[in-house]
Symmetry: D2
Subunit: 257 residues, 4 copies
Amino acid sequence: MTNTQVTLVQIDNYGPWTVTPAPRREPDLQALQADLYADLARQFGSRDGYVFYTRFDNVLAVTNGIDRAAHARVQEAVRNRYPVTVSLSTARAETPAAAEAEATARLQAAGGAQEADRREALRGDPTARTESGDVEVAHFDVVDVTDTYTDAESAFDSLRTVERAYLELADRLHDGHDSLAFFVGGDNVIAVTPGLSRGAYESVVDGVRAAAGVDLRVGVGDGATAAEAGMSAKHALEECRERDLTVSGDLRAIRGN
Amino acid sequence: MTNTQVTLVQIDNYGPWTVTPAPRREPDLQALQADLYADLARQFGSRDGYVFYTRFDNVLAVTNGIDRAAHARVQEAVRNRYPVTVSLSTARAETPAAAEAEATARLQAAGGAQEADRREALRGDPTARTESGDVEVAHFDVVDVTDTYTDAESAFDSLRTVERAYLELADRLHDGHDSLAFFVGGDNVIAVTPGLSRGAYESVVDGVRAAAGVDLRVGVGDGATAAEAGMSAKHALEECRERDLTVSGDLRAIRGN
Amino acid sequence: MTNTQVTLVQIDNYGPWTVTPAPRREPDLQALQADLYADLARQFGSRDGYVFYTRFDNVLAVTNGIDRAAHARVQEAVRNRYPVTVSLSTARAETPAAAEAEATARLQAAGGAQEADRREALRGDPTARTESGDVEVAHFDVVDVTDTYTDAESAFDSLRTVERAYLELADRLHDGHDSLAFFVGGDNVIAVTPGLSRGAYESVVDGVRAAAGVDLRVGVGDGATAAEAGMSAKHALEECRERDLTVSGDLRAIRGN
Amino acid sequence: MTNTQVTLVQIDNYGPWTVTPAPRREPDLQALQADLYADLARQFGSRDGYVFYTRFDNVLAVTNGIDRAAHARVQEAVRNRYPVTVSLSTARAETPAAAEAEATARLQAAGGAQEADRREALRGDPTARTESGDVEVAHFDVVDVTDTYTDAESAFDSLRTVERAYLELADRLHDGHDSLAFFVGGDNVIAVTPGLSRGAYESVVDGVRAAAGVDLRVGVGDGATAAEAGMSAKHALEECRERDLTVSGDLRAIRGN
């Protein structure tokens, strides 16, 4: 088991803002959303967190090692640089899925996403304390994506293929293994997992191949922070590429799940 | 029928760059991708285009009204501000799907995404000429998304729900109606369509409800540019919200498809 | 004589905002100011304008070729992406100094920088009409700056040397030649000038050498837009470097001033 | 006396890059420089540092509390997000001017700013250790700037007035008091000082009034980091505004200098 700290960042009352007093131009909203996400990636990233854009108005981060003061600082920086504010909610649990569910529940308890009087909520008790092995990251990509998809299909078909594989993978990892998987661009999916066995990874890769017709491989790493686990996973994925493996990394054979 | 101009922006040889000489930190890559996308949104957006992030290493834009010189200027700006370069390929056709397929084919003919000697290709013949009705945009969102999903489910479950509905919608619009649909954050999907009938929109909304269990509504607009069509679609979607409609906009009854 | 179009961009009521309800963190303000400036550089720059950061809360741009709709679009984009709004005021005159003075006067007539009810003013009548020769740009740099200053003095002393030379140059160009000079980073000063003679440039360079002890050289170019004139000036400055000249460019001998 | 840690950030071989293979467009360079500066402000700022843009190709930061690993992380992030790289050099001394001179000297010893083989140097030994009182910040602004200048003079004249006052102040603080002063936009100058007496501040303010005709006031604060000292200085400056004082803050009467 791991001890994953997850933070949900939610723009306060964003939907109404996008159409008040009249619908705002889409490219302006797109630039705003991407700017805000890039800023969160810089801020949490400089403290060894990983941030996933998900729906852009809701952003999920793995924040092991990042304390409450740093969270408050992120919230303050957003207020000072953007026309919107954000609420943050953090939870910690043995599985990423449980931590995420708890973080969401805490924010929902603080008020709805479109309640005008819930503004800059800061829930949960993020802490800098984290230990080796508290985070496991599995970094997936698509085997031969360039030859098979990017250079062979239309860009839109490649997008759908990758999205379909992502969704299949996310469902299997979440519902079967209490994990959170995120599409991070290109042909990459990064999952935060609770310490899965080699067999579990092989099983989800097989399942995605059967259901979506897409061949994945995965590098797995762990660490005290997302950055540490994630970099280890990236190196393991490089090993998959070089040695033509499906799963690589320092997997403990006896892990449950 | 419309006359949609589509541009594919592809980062040159991006995959190898991300792991050379060693894997680069994920938050740095995430920030780079979001910065580059936000920059494209600013540049094409200031000329009335719409830009969709898709896979981030491949970005699709609707560029009616934007000529070759402006495309070359975007390419130059990327070279001057980022550690990567981009190739651009444009095509124009009566349906968005046909234009997109042709744009991709032209870029593939110029060389593979990971061929080191294909760098800053600029294919196709984008033009500023565009006419009223050349672009149709359909802006979808999820009915009662906040109450039904954001404030009720975990953030990750809401993400999967929205992604699943998006994929179902994208498949139906593409395979049945030669349209391109893109998730743009929150609960919003923007589709570029070739002038569809009310019945066609009702049919895809019904199909998504049946297959994914998600209720959508859609505002439709047309114009000479994506900005014009898209803003008209946004106002039509506002009308859906106010009057509790499923489809709104200036739909021509006699449209084929 | 030229026909220079100058636009003043002023953040509305910025000073009070920076300390309400309490002083905001300086690095947040610095990032905001730089983000906003970079955004203006992208937007006006993509339409062949030049933008100078000056005091950051007041930004000056040369906007020949950029019409009222594009100005309004910039204003809208700022409102949609930042926690502050901007007012814009444009004027056109035979000299840059006269255009700038008039643009400022028009904005002052619309209300003070800290009047809470002056918000998003848009004054003047910017137009896309511009002709060859309407803009002249003079691009200065410091001779041997790296050997003489950057690699020889402390970074702070180099800064003061460059600032002192800039201020001396700005005074001479403005008070003697109705020109606007801006420090643009490194050892570069870009001036917008009304069509000066070689003798005028030699005189200001001599004056700066005498008063501030700094050796400058200058490339001069003209065009219908700042981009065209500015790029021509850059090539002329390259010629100065290669051929060890003090003044280069297509200067008309008979020019007055 | 203080114990100020200063870091010099210098873009490697920037001048040649800006004109290779041909001069790059000025607005692209302006956006790049501002983006890079904003990124440094975010990164050092999130760790309680202050960053000053100075010449943009050379940036000075006060980095008390920021260790070597964090410096290396900034360097890595720049490499991963920009078309240029940076060298960093840090030093620590009892006065800001001495620290800055030593940081520059260390970088110069590592190679010239335009030596192609000096790339990503990282010199000095930045440390997270810092104590209460190690940093003193003096935050100056111009009395009645809006009425006297912004709303009364042309924007360019206001710029020159503020720049002239800045340069006068910087000279007096540096040459007389071993301090580093930086213009930070608007009418604000932030100085890093070695613990000056009230009399010293009064003397420089009087000197600037006599020499440049500009009335300044100043709030002074100290702390273990630039953020702490700087926020204290901002509150002291607010007190100046409210109570019409020239100098405010927790100044120790017995301080030397």
